[in-house]
């Protein structure tokens, strides 16, 4: 028992839960597993609904409005349809890899939610290295995508998968560097501690970090305008061209679950997570998550897609230098200003962000055709 006790303390789930919390470690584990899976699936359905209806409105059309009131059951209808479809595997495909790819892509996305706090301490595991875990796990999904691209023996899939790997490898760096700023201000890697540290939401203290994280996050999960890996007008459907039926549904699920995961991480790191007045914490968390997701939908309907070399250039020439500068400024500020006057960082950092972004975009021109990489 002693060893398990240490394990439990390391996981730290008891730190914030009430002492009379029923059940032991495994009950906690089981309960949160079920909650996470159910919540993620429902959130994905909600996200699909929001995206399709929202895009419909933005594109001066109605969007799906036939299944159920206001088309609310459209995701259910989609799921039913896709479940009943025939699963086609190309003759030349690598059967095992082709079969495994959706699973490999889906598992890590669910795993991200293990450390996201839906309320004070409401998480599967309050890891003291929470955000590091998120960054590490989220990259694994790329392996699944590349397996899909390689295993389907289709050139469109391969192109899409290659683009995805290139994008993720590049965008991981500004993404992590943007997170480091938050970690420095919060003084902890634990997701719950980061939320607790946000008396002022970090998007005010770290405005540049917030911006960089949002852009890099969008690029990493391939949301528009960085949706190169499934650029429908160029490479048909990218890595999942050869998938149908339930396996396709898995990838569809991954796509939205990733978007929700990034929204959840942004909410936790920058928008104060579950904190907020009056409403219960989980509701605040949901509201913020959906607002972030909505911004992603908004950019999707607004922006054309960038080209692969421009995508790389943006990561290496724009985001990375700014992320390093942001880190430097945060470090200097923390060194000279004690914790008591954190509010001073808000106006200073916002001004710094505006100046830096404007200046750097003068340096950095995407336009005029070829960008050498």
């Amino acid at each position: 028992m002693a060893t398990i006790g240490i394990g439990i303390n390391n996981l730290g789930y008891q730190q914030t839960l009430p002492p009379d919390w029923p059940g032991g470690f495994w009950w906690h584990w089981l309960l949160f597993m079920v909650i996470i899976i159910v919540c993620v699936l429902i959130l994905v359905m909600a996200a699909i609904y929001i995206e399709r209806r929202g895009m419909g409105r933005m594109q001066s059309r109605l969007g799906p409005n036939r299944a159920g009131p206001f088309g609310l059951f459209q995701p259910v209808a989609d799921a039913m349809k896709v479940l009943l479809k025939e699963d086609i595997v190309p003759t030349r495909a690598d059967k095992l890899v082709h079969w495994l790819a959706p699973v490999v892509a889906f598992a890590p996305v669910l795993m991200i939610f293990a450390v996201i706090p839906f309320g004070d301490g409401w998480q599967l595991a309050n890891l003291n290295i929470g955000i590091l875990y998120v960054v590490a796990v989220s990259s694994v999904a790329t392996v699944g995508v590349f397996m899909a691209g390689w295993g389907s023996s289709n050139k469109y899939s391969l192109l899409g998968a290659m683009r995805n790997v290139a994008a993720v490898v590049s965008y991981e760096i500004p993404l992590v560097l943007a997170v480091v700023g938050v970690v420095m201000v919060a003084g902890s890697l634990s997701m719950n501690q980061i939320v607790l540290a946000q008396d002022i939401p970090f998007f005010l203290i770290q405005p540049l970090g917030f911006l960089l994280f949002f852009v890099a996050g969008c690029a990493e999960i391939n949301r528009s305008p960085f949706d190169l890996m499934e650029a429908d007008s160029e490479i048909v459907a990218g890595f999942h061209t050869e998938y149908s039926g339930m396996k396709f549904a898995m990838f569809y699920l991954v796509e939205y679950a990733e978007a929700i995961a990034i929204s959840a991480i942004i909410t936790t790191l920058f928008l104060g997570g579950w904190r907020g007045p009056l409403l219960p914490p989980w509701l605040w968390f949901l509201i913020k998550l959906i607002i972030v997701f909505f911004v992603m939908v908004w950019t999707r309907t607004t922006m054309p897609r960038v080209r692969i070399d421009q995508l790389m250039a943006l990561a290496w020439k724009f985001l990375l230098p700014l992320a390093v500068i942001n880190l430097l400024i945060t470090a200097v500020e923390l060194l000279f200003w004690s914790d008591t006057i954190t509010w001073l960082m808000v106006p200073v950092n916002i001004v710094i962000m505006i100046v830096l972004v404007v200046l750097w975009s003068k340096f950095f021109k995407l336009g005029w055709g070829k960008v050498e990489v």
Partner: protein, 367 residues
């Protein structure tokens, strides 16, 4: 260690989201870079030129609708003008004005689609496309008022039209003309300076003036390369010499210029329609003709500035009720011939974008 790489062949089409029909490109790619492309077409070949020989002159009009089905009115007009030239048929004044109005409205509709699908190829997920479709719907509504059809109108006849416009057409047209210039400005406000669009389309897929002339390119693609050549001015047909309008030209001949030229042409078309509406006389819309036209033996070629470029009809008559030979100068096919020069050395994404910026219609390419 050096990795050994080799180019691979990618079959784009005939079923592909952005080949605008059943066109196929056999592209050789070195990673993302296009090394070579080989166009394959003919998937939509219906033998329209041969079918013309099997039908009466009048009976061929519906088939011209199926050439460039995005702009059927212009096809009708080009063919009718060819037969009128062959048989020496006079067209009443009112019919000429109506033809100009309809041809320019067709140009608007075509360019709306061209610009919209250009943005789609650029990756803007259907938003500009659907807004432009909304405007095009208004034009189609007007055409439906005239001919009962929304795509293949079959409205023009030799010496005029099948019937006069209904009484409610002109007020509806005026209402449309009140809205449309504002919409064009609005599209410009949102799209013209888009950073991603500039990055994607500026300097991409350059077609030099010399190449354009050598390939026989016409229409907006030629004008984007900086050559001021428009058949409406260069060889005024119908009554285009009575209207004031400019020929917009591009500077560099890249994808962005082609997009800009189309938008400016929409403005010029609006100007022409405006003038034609004011000057429109009353009178008959069809000269008195027998049902079956039997032109004297001979040959005739007419060309018009269709929305996509120079559309020509060459007809040979042997004094019968059907053409002995009908040849169509397809704009799209000839414009497409420059594609290979424009995309080699660029990336796959640019290939799609350049292809979209040429604005082809497969019905016309394959005939």
């Amino acid at each position: 260690m050096t990795l050994k790489t080799e180019p691979f062949m990618l079959n784009m089409g005939p079923v592909h989201p952005s080949t605008h029909g059943v066109y196929r490109m056999r592209a050789t790619l070195d990673g993302e870079v296009v090394v070579d492309i080989e166009p394959v077409f003919g998937y939509l070949h219906r033998g329209i030129e041969k079918l013309a020989e099997e039908r009466t002159f009048t009976g061929f009009i519906p088939l011209t609708d199926r050439l460039d089905y995005i702009s059927s009115m212009s096809n009708n007009m080009a063919y009718c003008m060819a037969v009128e030239k062959l048989a020496g048929i006079e067209v009443p004044e009112r019919a000429e004005y109506l033809r100009v109005i309809l041809a320019e409205m067709q140009r608007l509709a075509n360019h709306l689609i061209a610009v919209g699908s250009f943005f789609n190829d650029c990756g803007a997920y259907f938003t500009p496309f659907l807004y432009m479709f909304r405007e095009r719907e208004k034009i189609l509504d007007l055409f439906e008022m005239l001919s009962g059809q929304r795509l293949t109108y079959n409205y023009m006849r030799f010496g005029g039209f099948s019937q006069d416009v209904p009484a409610e057409f002109m007020p509806a047209l005026r209402k449309f003309m009140g809205q449309m210039p504002g919409m064009v400005d609005e599209f410009d406000r949102f799209l013209k300076q888009n950073e991603v669009l500039l990055a994607r389309a500026r300097g991409v897929g350059i077609l030099t003036a010399e190449q354009a002339i050598n390939c026989g390119i016409s229409g907006p693609v030629l004008r984007a390369s900086g050559i001021e050549w428009d058949l409406r001015k260069a060889d005024p047909y119908s009554i285009y010499d009575r209207f004031e309008f400019d020929i917009p030209t591009g500077e560099f001949g890249d994808c962005y210029d082609r997009y800009r030229v189309r938008v400016e042409e929409m403005r010029q078309s609006l100007r022409i329609i405006e003038q034609a509406m004011d000057q429109m006389p009353s009178g008959p819309v069809r000269s008195d003709l027998p049902h079956l036209v039997r032109p004297p033996a001979g040959e005739a070629y007419t060309h018009i500035e269709s929305p996509k470029g120079e559309l020509g009809f060459y007809l040979v008559s042997d004094d019968s009720i059907a053409p002995y030979r009908c040849h169509i100068r397809p704009t799209s096919l000839i414009n497409l011939s420059a594609l290979r020069d424009m995309v080699i050395g660029w990336k796959v994404a640019d290939l799609i974008l350049t292809f979209g910026s040429i604005d082809i219609c497969l019905g016309e390419v394959d005939r």
